[in-house]
Amino acid sequence: MRRRGLLLAAFALLLAATASAQQRPIFDVDDFVDPRQHDGPVFISRLIAGVARNFVDDYRPLGKDAGFIELTNSFYRENLQFDYKHSEVRGENRAPDPVRCGCNPPLYFPTPPPPGATPAAPQPGSRDTLQVGFYRMELVGPADPPIALRTRFTFSRQKLTTHIRSFTTGELVEQRSGHDQSIGVDADTHFVFRGHDIWGSLVYARSSTSGTLAERRTQQEFAYVARPPGISLWRLLARATLTVGGVTNRGGTALNIVNPALEAFWHSHATRANVHLVWSPLSMRDGEGWRTHHQIALFVDRALYIR
């Protein structure tokens, strides 16, 4: 068991060191449900709303604060989970449309970040996400009940349209349409090291963006998210996670993401709403070195319908 644990740890570190995570949006609430908790199928519709400071979209800093709202529809049946999520994110101020000079070849302002630099986040907007997850039971010991772990596939897509105006007249001279889309998988892992449970997830995602000023750009993300057990302080639950990994096309292939996060969670019995406060200092490295973005989010979620 211990040897297996060590092998898994080494594997996870190796993956993290060589590659890179489809980062869940900071407001995407934890929706893990052990299949042993329900006898029949369960459908839950949920509304999430809140604000984030220094919003980061999939390891791409937006550079400003944002407000968001998300509607999630989750269906749990036996060992399977299906989700459809629709989110709307709005930046604090809408950035002006980019401009193009009348010169030849044309020049665009603001200039998109060069390849190898951290790309700018796409304009915040509407995003649709589909997820399919399945839960597996892992035996841990003859006297212990099996533990439930989830593997989940995610596909998300946001339509992008960039309006380019004339530098001199301000007229619309060009329009580019495309998508920011991501496909990924995350698998929960568990092993025992020196008698301690080590919980985590391995995450892989491939994202591509088109329809912006920059050339069509892709990034692959591979990360390990350590999820140590949380703690409770009276009725407040808190937990910390640590994500380490790499994102490609950032001017190197080594580990370039370190993202600890701290989440405080409070459930109100009276309103059946959950309040979340998340602090997520994200350190990323590109051709210009390491930079840290302190992302803080405060949001509320509540089930609208449960059956």
């Binding site: 934890d30 893990f32 006898d39 006297a143 009940p145 533990i147 449970d197 937990r239």
Partner: protein
């Protein structure tokens, strides 16, 4: 050369198999030795649990209390020493689970009397059957076991619980396959060794959320909003108004 090696191997395996079979026996009587010596003399009442079945604990007779020897007669069911395991309830202590051995035509088993146990009483309002499991891990010569039982009128007591060596769970609390249930060890009242606690659906829901956040290792630690909603729905559906837990 190869043939003679095969013969030697076959002979060794046969001898091992013969020894193994020779060491087992089928009987209804189990000779029990308790240790360490001065402590085991204080034991005045012993109940045995065979094959994890807490619903049918069996009374054990004193044979030679001065030398800490007791005898269990199942008075019916015969058991093979290689296929069963036992644990004991000793009043203010319990033992881990052990497999008996066959020695001089008798089934024998040894236990050490260590630790202290508590009597846990559950009272559900409205009265309803509760299922529980006691998970005891392996240690040295002892084997792992998950002993199960149910609580219903008139017995609501789980006897001789030693939280230092076992996990006590109320199973099937949320669904028919809820093996994780409520981990009684992690209840704040148990951790603080308080005498009694009354859990209504809200506090029960909080306890289950804390358990899922990391106090239990039955599932990935999580702060799941849907899990809380499902718990609240399940508890309302079950109609449980209060669950009182008393520790003595």
């Amino acid at each position: 050369m190869r043939r003679s090696r095969a013969i030697v191997l076959w002979a060794s395996l046969s001898s091992l198999a013969a020894t193994a079979f020779a060491q087992s026996g089928t009987t209804t009587v189990l000779d029990i030795s308790l240790s360490p010596s001065p402590l085991c003399k204080n034991v005045s009442e012993v109940f045995a649990v065979m094959l994890d079945n807490e619903e049918k604990t069996m009374s054990v007779d004193k044979t030679d209390p001065e030398h800490c020897h007791w005898t269990l007669d199942t008075r019916g069911p015969r058991f093979n020493t290689n296929l069963v395991h036992f644990s004991l309830r000793l009043g203010r202590a319990r033992t881990r689970c052990a497999v008996p051995h066959w020695d001089s035509g008798k089934a024998r088993i040894e236990f050490s009397v260590l630790g202290s146990a508590q009597q846990i009483t559950f009272t559900a309002d409205p009265s309803m059957q509760l299922r529980y499991a006691r998970e005891v891990r392996a240690e040295e010569d002892y084997v792992p076991c998950t002993e199960t039982g149910k609580l219903s009128e008139p017995l609501w007591n789980v006897r001789d619980v030693d939280f230092s060596m076992e996990n006590l769970r109320l199973r099937d609390l949320e669904s028919k396959k809820d093996v994780c249930g409520l981990l009684v060890n992690s209840l704040p009242a148990i951790e603080k060794k308080k005498a009694s606690i009354a859990l209504d659906p809200k506090t029960l829901g909080d306890a289950l959320s804390q358990q899922r956040a990391g106090k239990d290792h039955c599932q990935m630690p999580n702060l799941s909003s849907p899990a809380i909603d499902i718990t609240e729905t399940n508890l309302i559906k079950r109609g449980l108004k209060t669950l009182s837990v008393t520790v003595k």
